[in-house]
Every structure is written in C-alpha cells, then in structure tokens.
Symmetry: C2
Subunit: 230 residues, 2 copies
C-alpha cells in the first residue's frame, strides 16, 4: 500500500517560543531528523512549514534528495495538517502525521504505526506509560488522584487510513492530536508501544535532553506500551 | 517550626532495576544529592535505605557532616516512609518526604512545599503540567482522550503537617504517594509549581537525561504549575 507522511513544522514560534524546528540537534536540523525518518517508512513525504519558510525549504538538501513536497501551514496545528493532507496524493491509502517537534521518532516507530493500520485499525498511535502520579487540581487544591493504570501518553507519528483521516478533518475541527478527531468520528484507534526517547521539544531544557539522548545508544523498544517508561 | 525530611532510598532494585540510588550523578551519589537539598531546608534528616546498607550509610561523609539519621526501609515504599516517620523527632511539626530517585529536586523546591504547609495546608506537592496528550486504553484500543487541563504530574518532595501524615499512615495503607494517603484521610493538599527538571530515575535513559540536566544551567522555576512543561 502507498503511505504518505505529513511532517508538521508549521509553528512560527507560537508553540516553540521560537521556530525551533530549524535549530540543530547533534549537527542536523530538528526538522530534518523527522523528514529522514518519515521518508524511510513512507513512499511520499509532505513537509508543512510556516508560509515564509516554504521557498527556502523547497531548496533544502534533504527535501530535494528525498523528493519531499513543501507546503505552507495554517494558523493552528489542525489547519497545518489539513494543508498537508491537501498535498497528499490520491494514491496514498495510509497517512502518517508527525510533529517535527519530536525529532527522535525512529523509522521503526513510523513502521510500527503504519503496520497497525495495515492490519486493520482506522488509526494507530504510539503510547508510553505515565511514570508520575497524576492528580486533578481545582484552584490549586488536589481534588483527586487519577488512576493511571489504563492511561498512556501518546506521541506522534500517528497513522490513519487516509479516507478516515480526511473524513475526520472535513468539518475543520480543532484537537490536540489527529487521533482525537478520528476517535470523535467513531474510528478505532489502537496503541502501539511508543518510545520514551521520542520526547516533544517544548522548552530549552528539552533540547539539552534531546542532545544527550541523540548521543547515547538507544535501548530496544519495549514489547508492550505498559513496559515503556517503567 | 521544626521540619523533618525523610529521604526514601529503601528500594533494593525492585523499582530501579538495581540499587541506582548509590550510582554517581555528576560525580556525586544520587542519594547524596537529595540528602544535601533536604538538609538545607529541614532541621533534621532521616535517610531510609535497604537494611543491608544501613551500617555503611551511617558512616558516610554526607550523613555524618549533616548529622542525618539512617534507618532501614521496609518491603514497600509506604513501609519505608513509616520507618522514616518513626525516626522523626517529636519536635518536628512538618515532615517532608522525598524520593531519592529524584536527585535534581532543589532546596528551593523543598522550601516551597514546606512554606505551603506553614501557610495552612495539610500537605503540599510539586506539580507540573502534562505536555503529552493522554488517552485511556482498554485492550490496546483508545476509549477516550483525557482532558488534561486540570491534571498535574506530581513529584516529591511532598510536605505535610506531621500529625496529619502520621494519621494517614496509621492503618499501614499502600499508595503511590503520601499525598494520596493524606487526601484519602480528608486532608487538604495544595499544589505548588514543580520543576520539570525534577525527573524520576526509572530507566538507564533517565540517567543520561539527568547527567545532561545536572550539567546545564537551570532556568527559573515557573510562576504557576500551568506554565511548567509547556
């Protein structure tokens, strides 16, 4: 089956503080880590960047070598995903969406979510367990300790049947992740073992952490999501 | 007011894989990071270690310099906390419990939770926001996306009124954290801004991350927990 990957790097600093997707991690741009991993698992790659960056990105070494398409993002993450979806070819029956803010997502992780959709799910997301105690808070006071046995923290890449993802985005909804839209539309989303190293770059400390992890040999992925981050 | 700190390092590898509390982080033992931070905020420190380590720890440089007491832990975390509580002096009206597996907890963080109890709470815990989308899973399939707006990940050190903490432990309950016991007993537990760097050492990768953070200048603590980890 033909698989398209959408790498979302549309943020112009709203979510990153500044446009960190162009910073270097271990000598390679944050964005390029994701584009390389996506290209090794998908047959086409669409890169979504801020409008002002499209021309420069289209001339970039990685984009040209991998024959990726570059399109302009929208005002929100969901709009950027939709801009990417419009650039995906009709041949693609599976679409993988990935946030460039997670540069350490491996090609194996892309393949794992794709395989789960090939096996029949409407969508597949990587999940890792919740290592910290979670509490629900109101006005600064704890109101409950949350049972986290059945909770997972989900990551990207997230893979979907292309028609299901297009349908979920049809009414231009907003959500923190695409799986949430597919779930809301009644789709069956499965969880595959995520990678504790696949952290999201949100603060300057995260870049320190990512640098350390990028330079350290990776342990094997856990067999089940329940084992991860334990 | 007199404040006692209990540093829990009772695990003999059950939770760490091996007894990582004695590993080095940036040239100093994991355990000693916490004992030093606790001692700078509390008037007495009790260190809970596996029974077989008590004699050696009691002769340790940090323990002797800080006049800390060393006691043997129990079979579970809660039992280890109770062993520590028994060694706390009657003068202490506030008790701070800290997991040695969080070596980067700062003296300021200890002071923050203590101050919140001095200000009238039964207990105070550090909380940081949840950066990842959370989903509830059953049999590997997503059943719900969890609203995380009012959720925090809680850390240690956790401070309590001494009588409240003793009461919460009276019936020898088990829980993932002491705050949970105090909440269950009807206590009012408040959340203070936690520190995203104050991560828990659970995997070999965590040690890589802790080394990187220990060697990197710390940003200021966020003003509110809602800002942390965003």
């Amino acid at each position: 089956v033909a698989v398209a990957a959408i790498v979302v790097a549309g943020g112009s600093g709203r979510r990153f503080g500044r446009a960190k997707q162009f910073d270097l991690l271990s000598g390679r741009r944050i964005l390029d880590w994701s584009v390389e991993a996506a290209a090794s698992a998908a047959s086409e790659v669409v890169v979504v960047v801020p409008a002002e960056a499209v021309a420069a990105e289209a001339e970039g070494e990685v984009v040209r070598r991998l024959a990726a398409r570059v399109v302009a993002g929208g005002a929100t993450r969901a709009e950027s995903v939709r801009a990417g979806l419009e650039a995906v070819s009709d041949q693609a029956s599976i679409v993988v969406v990935h946030d460039a803010a997670r540069p350490l997502a491996s090609a194996d992780l892309f393949r794992a979510v794709i395989a789960a959709v090939e096996a029949g799910a409407d969508g597949a997301v990587p999940g890792v367990s919740v290592p910290d105690t979670l509490k629900r808070v109101a006005d600064g006071v704890v109101v409950a300790t949350v049972d986290r046995e059945e909770l997972v923290r989900v990551q990207t890449p997230q893979a979907f049947r292309a028609d299901v993802l297009r349908g979920a985005h049809r009414d231009e909804p907003e959500a923190t992740d695409d799986a949430g839209l597919v779930e809301a539309a009644g789709g069956r989303v499965v969880v595959v073992p995520g990678d504790p190293r696949n952290i999201k770059l949100t603060s300057p400390d995260d870049l320190v952490v990512l640098e350390a992890l990028a330079g350290s040999p990776s342990p094997a992925l856990p067999e089940t999501w329940a084992e991860s981050a334990r």
